[in-house]
């Protein structure tokens, strides 16, 4: 069974609700489920509702019914505007620093693979399959499996001073490329995203590190939009805040 089939099997198993399966003890009001799905609740409360549906088949079913009804009504998938952007915006300094967890490195290393191989990731089951992001983006990668595009020109893991946290990388394969750099903490809180860079270098403004301790390990990744319209994406690089 390939990965997409396994995902479908998982979905069928999760969304099945046979007779005799008891409902949860505290079912959510249908109104609340509807409000969470439509974005009328604040993000934290939406997350609470989703958390409840993880273990309550009845409320999970109510969620699916609401989604189906809204999808049918609008004629498309209910990608709705919540009236606010993501709470963790791409230009916002991360919240309080979270304690470093050793296993996060391993998870991050796995996440690096997301950027390798033209947007394909090695799935948990079977051969690599792309996660259906629904955004239709297929970044192309330069070179074969052994060659990484936009390689860092800084020693991996090197400490960089807070006041001059300057990132450098190899230029894209075509002149005239525009770069986007994303810097985040190891638990994936975005520190800063810089777009439209014309040179393969970026100095992170020191104020972006507010709240982060010295010794914080930071991940950064570069995307290059080429004049031809193609895109190159680097692996994730790691350096330490000094």
């Amino acid at each position: 069974m390939n990965r997409p089939e396994k995902i479908q099997t998982l979905r069928r198993a999760f969304t099945s609700y046979p007779q005799g399966v008891a409902a949860c003890e505290e079912e959510l009001a249908p109104e609340r489920i509807w409000q969470a799905l439509t974005g009328e609740l604040p993000a934290a409360e939406r997350r609470d509702v989703v958390a409840h549906t993880a273990t309550c088949p009845a409320c999970a079913e109510a969620w699916r019914l609401a989604r189906f009804m809204r999808t049918e009504a609008t004629g498309s998938a209910p990608v709705h505007h919540m009236g606010r952007g993501p709470e963790e915006g791409s230009q916002v300094v991360a919240g309080p620093w979270k304690q470093y967890l050793p296993h996060v490195l391993a998870a991050v290393a796995a996440a690096l693979l997301i950027t390798v191989g033209a947007g394909v990731i090695p799935g948990p089951w079977g051969a690599p399959e792309p996660i259906p992001t629904g955004i239709g983006e297929t970044p192309t990668m330069r070179g074969d499996a052994g060659e990484q595009a936009l390689a860092s020109e800084i020693e991996a893991g090197a400490e960089l001073p807070r006041e001059d946290f300057r990132l450098r990388w190899e230029p894209a394969s075509q002149k005239g490329a525009r770069y986007k750099v994303t810097v985040m903490t190891e638990d994936l809180e975005t520190v800063v995203t810089a777009r439209g860079l014309e040179e393969p270098v970026y100095r992170v403004p020191p104020e972006r590190f507010e709240g982060l301790d010295d010794g914080t390990r930071l991940l950064w990744q570069v995307e290059a939009r080429l004049p031809s319209g193609e895109q190159e994406t680097s692996a994730s690089h790691t350096n330490v805040l000094g």
């Binding site: 099945s16 109510a62 019914l65 009804m69 997301i114």
Partner: protein, 194 residues
């Protein structure tokens, strides 16, 4: 009937026009059809076979609310959808509780294959086991991964999940990936293979 041809609340007939000008008769028909499709698509077969009854009860509640509310508050067609969903869920839950009671009375041990409309009891039992296993594994995950994977299993795309959860796309994508890995490992440790 008033000068516009609309019925007043006192004659027991639901209003014909919403605050947004839509003709409610069309809306009621549309709601009825939509509810039937939703139940047929989402609910298990034993419940979907009763969708006409479910929809009728839900629709009566919608009409009753509309009738009682006329003149007291403004409401729109979209509000009726919300009410229709609530009414449907309440009725489904009532049916399920009734089923649980009847199963307890008739089959104290478990699944009532005699009344089940599922095609293959063995397959259904296996699927139920995996479903229970998935829900158990979700409780073992860190919260953020649990949320991302739950929405993914519910059929949402990653961008949809990101918007619902209020997170960036990249964060959500990574959490789905890691969460599915956790799920695989957990199910394997339980001897369950999807």
């Amino acid at each position: 009937m008033n000068q516009h041809g609309d019925h007043s609340p006192s004659d027991g007939v639901p209003p014909r026009t919403a605050s947004d000008g839509r003709d409610f008769s069309e809306t009621y028909v549309e709601i009825s059809q939509r509810l039937e499709k939703a139940v047929a698509a989402v609910c298990p077969r034993w419940l979907a076979d009763r969708r006409e009854d479910l929809v009728q009860v839900a629709l009566l509640r919608v009409m009753d609310l509309a009738r009682k509310s006329e003149g007291k508050r403004e409401f729109s067609s979209s509000y009726l959808w919300r009410v229709a969903h609530s009414a449907l869920i309440d009725e489904i839950r009532r049916q399920r509780r009734r089923q649980e009671i009847s199963l307890d009375d008739d089959e104290p041990g478990g699944f009532d294959f005699a009344t089940s409309h599922e095609a293959d009891p063995e397959q259904d039992a296996s699927g139920r086991e995996v479903g229970d296993g998935i829900r158990h594994c979700l409780t073992q995950m860190v919260q953020n991964r649990r949320l991302a994977v739950t929405l993914y299993l519910q059929g949402h795309s990653v961008p949809e999940s990101a918007e619902i959860l209020g997170w960036t796309l990249k964060k959500t994508e990574n959490l789905v990936y890691r969460g599915l890995t956790d799920l695989r490992d957990c199910l394997s440790s339980m001897g369950l293979e999807p």
